[in-house]
Symmetry: C2
Subunit: 194 residues, 2 copies
């Protein structure tokens, strides 16, 4: 159950067996069915979730419409980091797009690790830096690329999204209607056939 | 010269005199005249700048037009954190809107402090978290508030911007034309007079 999160951590910090055991001892397993809700806007994010298996998606509700923010797959962490850091209610809604298995770590336990072991401070710094870079990247895409360019970039950089995520969620992620995504896909298929 | 940055650091971590001396020993002072350029897009951000005095602004050039991203005043840090972390060229242009005094710390020296003293890891984590929260806040304002609401929020939360920044930069920051800002200001002045 812990082999994936152990491998993930080892990319950033080198824990002894005892240190990892102490960390793993605080993790709580949670399973979600396909389409099950993990978290709703208005709640305060008090946990980080490591995805052992499956896929989470978060979205904002804007005038009753779902605006998909991001997809997260196995071997990555998800939290609404803004709510987690600020203690303010989240605006995000998160559901599982596949049968999903999570390992949860509470904010309290994470901050306890920060206090007691500098290796976790480093891990926290690197996670915060990654979150910042991810947000800047998403901003840049939405600001500087048109929907077709965003789609091409997604094709190139994130094959998992293309393989595992239904088209209407991809359209929502790209900020377009499903019909527009169909047109873009046809146009690109024609270009590749030429 | 170091009293402000010392006070700033002490809000996050508690350094001994020796630790602070070692840190201060790596800082390089830099003065900018009003309107002087600090940094241009295409360069790689290899320093963090603590502002001892004055004000920096960064902007993006979009079709020859300046889109103001943010203002930074004395007692805060500025860097293009994306470029700083990724080593990729920056898209930001930074100039001084007032006579400005900076203390610069190189990326190499900062990472050396991360390596050798866990207190700096904590400082780095807190800075990265703040950068993330600042970016989310700015995103939320641009996504969820109309220009008048953004202006009212700026009035309430950041009096320094209202007092020290010329109107056309404020308009650019709010994402509107200077004429629109004039109209908003008149409308609010009328409401307050009622």
């Amino acid at each position: 159950m812990y082999s994936q999160i152990k491998a993930y951590l080892s990319r950033f910090i080198h824990l002894t067996e005892e240190e990892f055991e102490a960390f793993a001892g605080k993790l709580v397993a949670k399973k979600l069915k396909k389409k099950e809700v993990y978290f709703l806007e208005g709640e305060i994010s008090r946990q980080v979730a490591f995805i052992n298996k499956g896929c989470l998606r978060y979205y904002y509700l804007v005038n009753g419409e779902e605006h998909t923010g991001q997809f997260f797959f196995e071997n990555s962490f998800y939290t609404d980091y803004e709510s987690f850091l600020s203690g303010q209610p989240s605006r995000q809604n998160i559901d599982a797009l596949e049968k999903t298995e999570l390992l949860l770590l509470s904010r309290t336990d994470l901050y306890q690790f920060y206090e007691t072991n500098p290796k976790f401070e480093r891990f926290g710094r690197l996670m915060a830096e990654n979150a910042y870079l991810g947000l800047r990247k998403r901003n840049n895409e939405l600001l500087n690329l048109n929907p077709e360019e965003r789609y091409v970039q997604l094709l190139r950089e994130r094959p998992k999204v293309m393989e595992r995520i239904p088209q209407h969620y991809i359209a929502s992620y790209l900020g377009i209607k499903p019909e527009s995504l169909s047109r873009i896909r046809k146009r690109i298929a024609r270009q590749n056939a030429d």
